[in-house]
Amino acid sequence: MKLLKIVAALALTAQIANAAEPTEGGTLRLIAQPEPPMLMLGLNQQGPTQFVAGKIYEGLLRYGTDMSVLPGLAQSWTVSEDGLVYTFELQNDVVWHDGEPFSSKDVVFSLSKFLPEVHPRARGVMGHVKDITAKGANTVSIELNAPFPAFLQSFEVSSAPIVPAHIYEGTDYRSNAANETPIGTGPFKFDEWQRGSFIRLVKNDQYWQDGKPYLDEIVFNVVPDAASRAVAFETGKVDVLRGGDVEYFDVQRLAALPDAETTNAGWEFLSPITWIQFNLRNEPMNDVRFRKAVWHAIDREFIANAIWMGFADPADGPLPASSPFYKENLPAADYNPDKSRALLDEMGLTPDENGVRTTVRYLSLPYSETYIRMGEYIRQQLREIGIELEVTQTDVGGWAQSLGQWDYDMTVNLLYQYGDPALGVERAYVSSNLVKGSPSANVSGLDNPKIDKVLSEAGTATSTDERMKLYAEFQQTVVDEAYFGYLVRVNFPTVYKTKVRNLVGSAIGLNDTMADVWIAE
């Protein structure tokens, strides 16, 4: 693996904060890829929407790159002993972009009315809530049905954006005209959106943090072609490239430019793990030996180093190494095609005259060239052991649809952690989430009462030790059964011009408010 110029973001920010005083002014030039469908974060939480709207809207809390809980619109919070009552103290003197004052009324409206209606993930979390009440203009109290330790991880801006009650209350949220000109409390206000071209945000002079933001403007350019994006960065037309904006080997090259830096920080909240998703309902994927054969046919090091160009680490289980619940020393999924062949032989899948033992369908994930290439690699590796993949190439919509309808044999998928296994991980494993129609439900058909039980206990246990034990058991079980073919933990590297300072300061990285970002002359 090549030596990369990777600096931990936190160390960097600290260093630079020491080195210089922030300068005010300047325009930060970013790329929105693909172009978001809308900027009303409450109604749409796709990646690009989070990226752009994360500067307009805010959540109650933020999370540090170590997943520590930081103040957001809530300046402080308390949790009752029994873990049932959460009380949030809001920031003072916050105003909406249209000048209306922000208050606990907005928080109550957002959490109890708006989000449960339009935001699927928030609806799930708010299902744990018994009651939300405003205690005065600046205090909100939330009572849960049962202890839910992950609750405090559910308040970053995309999980629970706070929206203005005075605009949305009593209206049809989806068709509200204000969706076109989003009103938030964030450090940047919506200015102009020329579709297909750019989105421009301008400084919010009335931002509640004094002296911030530093930047005058943020411009999100729409650049559909990856090669053009690389050129745009090289020619200085944009200042930052997000992970996935350009090819990973381009990241290496661009990071090596004299005025560029790169960081892997800022993805701690999501910490995506990619895996091979089997449809456990279908033959032969329902056989653990087949799944293990697939495991052993694939060289995770190769995927991490050659396909992700070193911007990924081999994954050995369902949780990222950064998770506090991560279990070490899980059985290694070693690359050993002979083992695979033996397992397939054992199953009675013997090769025909062309060396083909069995043919299964593979639904290609078209997120980016890298995923497509990973599919090509997997197909070739499986071909080596006699499993022929019949590839279905489709667009993202088609992929999501096939997945949601359980119409696939194998595919590659990736799962976001959302800070706590109970929020991000659980949904893909529990039988209660065997819902047809959604690609982010439990689509593999995994139905194991043991796992259901362990996860349900782990989600509600109040003691961290207890949770660690339960999640360890969970990890051991899914790896033993090889329900998923874990591949790599992806580090989405951010490449940026050195002059951009304080770029990544939280677990949601570039999706955060950028109130602290400044440009050095």
């Binding site: 072609d225 080997f249 090259r253 050659a306 090509e376 070739q380 590839v391």
Partner: protein, 278 residues
Amino acid sequence: MNSPLSLFFGNRAAVIALACLAVITLLALGASLIYPQSPWKMVGAPFQPPAWGGHLMGTDMLGRDIAAGLVHGARVSLLIGLVSTAIALLIGVGIGAVAGYFGGLVDDILMRFTEVFQTIPSLIFAIVLVAIMGPSINSIVIAISVVSWPSVSRLVRAEFMTLRRREYVESSQVLGLPGWRIMLTDILPNAMAPVIVTATLMVATAILMESGLSFLGLGDPDMISWGYQIGAARTMLRAAWWMSFFPGVAIIITVLCLNLVGEGLSDALNPNLKRKKP
């Protein structure tokens, strides 16, 4: 009197182009002999630049041999070009012939129908069709055929309308021959010259269109084709120029040769009549 054949072979550029196409076709046919292994197979380290002795055209990001992909891809690209042209010809000649021969209301209806297809911007139409059917060699061929038949149909109609008034056609009518027979034996063979010329150009256009679809990510993932190679390599232009360079050159050469052959045929088949179509 100069026969079309000798006229064609008197055209140096066309002959060279034909020879070139022959070589490409041979390479395509012999792909399995030259590179017996699957072009998808990772045979070396990723990102090796072209080198004598090593991989002639380098390797791609997964260590697959570009040259192997190129010769195997020739098969698919040519196949897509030929089959889609054949289908377009079948539809186009059929509709054009009926419209041109019978004229009147039949002609009106068929030409309105053709016009509808011709009006939709071709690449947008093709993209939609491929996306809807799912990218596969079949859907690509169908999409290209669907967008390219109208021009054939117009051409054939025009030829049929002219030839229909020819005296030898009328003489067959006078002899009492049935319409289908007149269309097949009297008109069609004499209308074929411009159709053949158009067909060669259509093969070229089809190859270009396939590359465009692949560029947009609508290539068949099971089949390596030139367009697919370029499409897969488009983001790596800077890092590994050879990955898209060689398939790009292959497309340019093939399309160029097809054009030259088409021009040669056009001149040979219509020595007195320079075709209006470029």
